[in-house]
Amino acid sequence: MVPLTFLDDNKALAFSNQVVQQGAVGEDVIELQSRLQYLGFYNRKIDGVFGWSTYWALRNFQYEFGLPIDGLAGAETKAKLVKASKYDKNFVKEQINKGNKFTHYGGVDKKKQSAPQPKAPAKAPAKAPAQTPAKTGSTKQAAPKQAAPKQAAPKQAAPPKQAAPPKQAAPKAPNKPTAANTPGGFSSNDIQLMANAVYGEARGEPYTGQVAVAAVILNRVNSVSFPNTVSGVIFEPGAFTAVADGQIWLTPNEQAKKAVLDAINGIDPTGEALYYFNPATATSKWIWSRPQIKRIGKHIFCE
């Protein structure tokens, strides 16, 4: 991993040395999105997750600037980006922390001088007013003194607000993306619900045993003889003891959540089992008649 970082041009001061690729999360992505938005390539929420919109925006940028189009923010791309755009970290972070919807175009006047992208001027004014009403708070303090000459005439709050933050030495905001990757087919709530079930059913089990319980839930969702939804499977009457006795409402730990993600990512330690039981406590005779596949921790998994 080291060699790549040496190529890095020092112009890319703000970015860290890493190559940013699709799926990444974090500070560099926030900066990437802000800079792309500054140039008018990216017009969605700055959320710190490198998703498809960011990917297309980056590729368009690479195309317009004559870079190799690979959708990766490598050293060269980052250097070009830094050169072409401005990034006001504190402002962006502050808005994210306040939960504001905003667009980061820098001071509009500045943009007029520096934006080489023909698209940018057209888009910026259109976007800015629309977004402003949401965040009236910061506008008032800043408006009067900030010189935003050409845009001053209309009473829109946009130019002053965006120009203001540089002066206000905003407190160092903790960096946190406001969105998260979730695997295709599942919302974070689905994952949470499954983690609840896994924790209630298998919190004393080894990690693999927890993944296995999550995998059984997924196998059931995919099976024709069970409900087709995660919640349907979990709350099916009599299906899980943890649901019947209310243990499902214990707060799950991170490990349970991770086990669920592993299972969703295709790890199935059970060999496609649809049932499992604890031989020490199982009361139903019927369950012993199922063909058994394997044992993990205290649970026996069967077909």
Binding site: T208, I234, R290
Partner: protein, 450 residues
């Protein structure tokens, strides 16, 4: 004497009453939990169906041909009726919920009418397309609101029974997030495909093939151990346990679990008896703070696969979850992607070690004698089959498993309609629209809501 008897009788009576009371209490609790679970199910089902509905309308927007449009509209119709049903099961009798039901009925009607129509003779008009777009947006809003409520319900352990009690007693003023949440949902009324895990997902029917396509000699337990050690990077002095599969399994495999007492490292792996391919492994440990980038992790994952003899794999998807990166690789032969042959590798972003691996789909579809036929259509011809509103950004040929469980050669188009990204597969032989997949955007974190 009499006093003694009376005391005795009373004591027995008190004890009996206490016991009876306790029984009643337990029964009441059991029934409460049961009722609660039913409400919970209906509610989580509802949100899930709204997720599906939103995505399904989204994919419908991207479709072009009747063959795929009609089934998709039927699916929308089915989902609305299920969601409707779920709304009906919620204890909302005292809440105004008719707008949402109206909305569902509206989508249902629209999708039904268009689905049963012969779309070849009378394709979707521009107005209808716009209607669909509006419905798409509205369902997105509802989905978002419902998710917020769901998040609060899960986060704060809210009970539906409490809602019911609150509603029954008319004490709505207490902080009742569920009711408030649903009111918002109601006001706004103005993602995830069910068992559709994208093109690389081999579905259940396929599963009975039991790794028949793997060729090789049966391995011994000892070999299984050494393979496991090699993949998971365990040194000599680890504690190992091997078990064979039980009778219930459709195929033969060894389960190896290894523990290194010194480092606390724990790994488990299943290996096919035939040829000794790892099916999956977990190398579990707590992952520390992120130190390497997703890109570096990607290189590590690729190197790991190469080192273990997997050939022609190409990265197809990468995702970061907290401090781990998950990479999905598929086979690529002469630049043709073979989606069924997919391997997932999980990398810890603190030191770049491989902590998870899953090759189930890969092993089920692995086929080195696959003959890839020349496409009949040219890429331009295939492009014409795609929805005209779809803006193609990337194009390639790919093999996917279609609805009939057959492998088909397709043109794959990756592109956008408005803000959403889609992957569309057009059969390279006859131009059928085999699959339209709406790709996921990052999901908002709802923490600030609480």
């Amino acid at each position: 004497m009499i006093r003694g008897i009376i005391i005795g009788v009373l004591a027995v009576g008190v004890a009996g009453t206490a016991y009876w009371g306790y029984q009643e209490h337990r029964e009441k609790n059991a029934i409460l939990i049961n009722a609660e679970n039913n409400y919970q199910r209906a509610f989580h089902d509802l949100t899930y169906e709204m997720d599906l509905l939103h995505d399904k309308i989204g994919t419908t927007l991207a479709m072009n041909s009747r063959q795929s449009l009609s089934p998709s509209l039927v699916e929308v119709w089915r989902l609305t009726s299920e969601a409707h049903n779920d709304v009906g099961q919620l204890p909302l009798t005292l809440l105004p919920f008719n707008k949402t039901e109206e909305f569902l009925a509206q989508i249902g009607k629209f999708s039904y009418q268009t689905a049963v129509r012969d779309l070849d003779k009378e394709p979707l008009s521009d107005e209808e397309y716009d209607t669909l777009k509006v419905l798409y947006k509205q369902s997105g809003d509802i989905q978002n609101e419902l998710r917020k409520v769901q998040h609060m319900v899960l986060e704060n352990n809210l009970r539906w029974m409490d809602v019911e009690l609150a509603l029954a007693s008319g004490k709505e003023t207490t902080d009742n997030t569920i009711i408030d949440g649903f009111k918002t949902v109601e006001k706004t009324v103005s993602g995830y495909d069910e068992s559709d895990f994208g093109p690389s997902f081999t579905n259940m029917q396929n599963k009975d093939e039991n790794y028949n396509k793997i060729k090789g000699k049966r391995i011994s337990e000892k070999e299984a151990i050494s393979i496991a050690k090699k993949y998971m990077k365990f040194d000599g002095n680890a504690e190992v346990k091997v078990t064979e599969n039980g009778k219930g399994s459709d195929f033969g495999f060894y389960s190896v679990s290894i523990r290194n007492k010194k480092t606390g490292q724990e790994g488990s792996m299943d290996i096919t008896k035939k040829a000794g391919y790892p099916i999956w492994f977990i190398n579990y440990r707590e992952v520390d703070k992120q130190k390497i980038s997703l890109n570096d992790a990607n290189l590590k994952a690729a190197a790991f696969l190469k080192e273990n003899g997997y050939k022609n794999l190409e990265l197809f998807e990468s995702m970061q979850y907290d401090n781990t990166g998950v990479f999905n690789f598929v086979t690529s032969e002469n630049k043709i992607r073979i989606y069924p042959e997919a391997i997932k590798v999980e990398v810890a972003l603190d030191n770049g070690n491989i902590i998870g691996f899953s090759a189930e789909e890969y092993l089920k579809s692995l086929n080195d004698k696959r003959k890839i036929e020349k496409p009949v259509l040219t890429s331009e011809q295939a492009r014409k089959k795609v929805n005209p509103r779809f803006k193609v950004m990337e194009e390639r040929q790919a093999i996917i498993v279609n609805d009939l469980n057959k492998e088909v050669l397709c043109y794959e188009f990756l592109g956008t309609i408005d803000d959403d990204t889609y992957r569309i597969f057009i059969n390279a032989a006859d131009g059928t629209e085999e699959e339209v997949e709406k790709l996921k955007n990052a999901e908002e974190v709802y923490d600030e809501v609480i």
